[in-house]
């Protein structure tokens, strides 16, 4: 898994590539939690290059969402593949996120 971080205004863009699974979910969670701790509470997770998400990854995403809401922030996901979307739907967590087809569309909602 690789994470690229950038910022547009007060929105943190977390571009994740590869797999979020039992080996990498902790690293994803730690990275995003640090951003949240530093005072940024609006997030877009760009999933264009996300290849696989396991239960550990789903849990990390849901935990991030919960922590962001506690700080009155907003989290959205963009560029989800059909497969990733289906997995999140099966797990019952898709409804916790706003999803957009691309980054520009996601940014327009902040």
């Amino acid at each position: 898994m690789k994470i690229e971080l950038s910022k547009v205004g007060d929105v943190a863009i977390v571009k994740v590539s590869g797999r979020i699974d039992s080996s990498t979910a902790d690293s994803f969670w730690q990275t995003t939690d640090q951003i949240l701790d530093s005072g940024t509470s609006n997030f877009i997770v760009d999933c264009a290059n996300l290849e696989f998400i396991s239960s550990a990854g789903l849990r990390a995403l849901l935990t991030l969402s919960k922590n962001i809401r506690q700080k009155s922030g907003i989290i959205s996901l963009c560029c989800l593949s059909q497969q990733a979307k289906a997995v999140m739907d099966i797990a019952g967590i898709l409804a916790f996120f706003k999803t957009y087809a691309n980054l520009e569309e996601a940014l327009s909602h902040y």
Binding site: S22, S23, F52, S54, S55, A56, R59, L62, V87, I90
Partner: protein
């Protein structure tokens, strides 16, 4: 090795409601092929061909599993399902008044012991019941359950011979050729999984367990214990989302079961300890989603996923 599920429901015995039964009737009528509508014999044949979910019941009795391995009769947990097992044994076994039964207890929450006061073989003096558990004071816990304030017959007054064996954590015992190992699970008060091996086949019974930390290091102990099992019986009481929100309630989801089974190279996965609040069609939906999840995330791995249902028998 043969396994039979006598109780598959979690937490509380769950008889079907009138509403559930009517719902099933209506669904059957809705699916009847028009060509057989005026043919009662054809309708009967059609109904007999439907699954237990469509025209029967997944089952509302709490956990009890019977495993036959070599010449041994092993019983895992004493939920309300053990009542029907006891009646079956007393009626059908050649040694019905000289039974030698080995009973393994995962933990002593009500739904895993509350069937025992109704276990008919315990009322015959020639039967022998050997109880195994890593929990200390199992005898005392059963005595408390049958204190006169709660049940009219005390444990002492059940005339079968009773022996209690305290298992060491993570230990293995041999009953003749049958090997039984245990491994601790995360559950309020503690629960234990069992791995039963005989004649080159293996079953893992892992119920009442929560997997809060899904990182590789935390899950390795479970994957190792489940490794290569022919059948894994897994606590799938919650949906994935419920399991996260019900932190420390001590149960897991089918999706985590699928991942563990795939990683451990398990051949068959039985979803078990069904949520008492769910009807059969909602439980079936959990199965469908588990199969879809497996297809998407692990398309190349072989894994047969099914629902544990009352009365289901599997030969390994």
């Amino acid at each position: 090795m043969k396994i039979k599920f006598w109780g598959v429901r979690g937490s509380l015995p769950t008889p079907p409601t009138a509403e559930h039964i009517r719902d099933k009737f209506i669904r059957i009528i809705d699916t009847l092929p028009p060509a057989i509508l005026a043919k009662p014999d054809e309708i009967k044949k059609y109904i007999l061909g439907l699954s237990n979910i469509e025209a029967g019941l997944i089952g509302g009795n709490t956990p009890c599993i019977e495993i036959r391995a070599s010449d041994k009769i092993l019983i895992f947990d004493m939920g309300s399902g053990i009542k029907a097992l006891g009646n079956y044994l007393v009626k059908n076994e050649p040694n019905k008044n000289g039974l030698d039964l080995h009973i393994f207890i995962t933990h002593t929450h009500w739904d895993h012991i509350h069937g025992f006061p109704f276990f008919t073989p315990a009322f015959f003096p020639n039967n022998k019941l050997t109880f195994y558990s890593p929990h200390p004071n199992l005898k005392e816990r059963l005595e408390v359950q049958q204190d006169f304030r709660f049940f009219p017959v005390s444990l002492e007054h059940m005339p079968a011979k009773k022996e209690f064996v305290l298992l060491e954590h993570n230990s293995t015992i041999n009953l003749g050729e049958v090997k039984i190992s245990n491994h601790p699970l995360y559950h309020p008060g503690g629960s234990f999984s069992y791995r039963i091996e005989w004649n080159g086949k293996s079953i893992v019974y892992a119920t009442d367990s929560e997997y809060k930390n899904l990182d590789r290091e935390s899950t390795k102990q479970y994957i190792d214990f489940f490794r290569g099992a022919d059948l894994l019986i897994f606590d799938a009481q919650y949906t994935f989302e419920e399991a996260i929100h019900k932190e420390d309630w001590g149960h897991s989801s089918a999706l985590v079961g699928v991942e563990f089974a795939v990683e451990a190279g398990v051949k068959r996965l039985a979803l078990f300890h069904h949520e008492p609040e769910r009807n059969d069609f909602e439980i079936q939906d959990i199965l469908k989603k588990s199969i879809d999840f497996k297809k998407i995330n692990f398309p190349k791995q072989k894994l047969d996923i099914f629902l544990a249902m009352e009365g289901l028998e599997i030969y390994l």
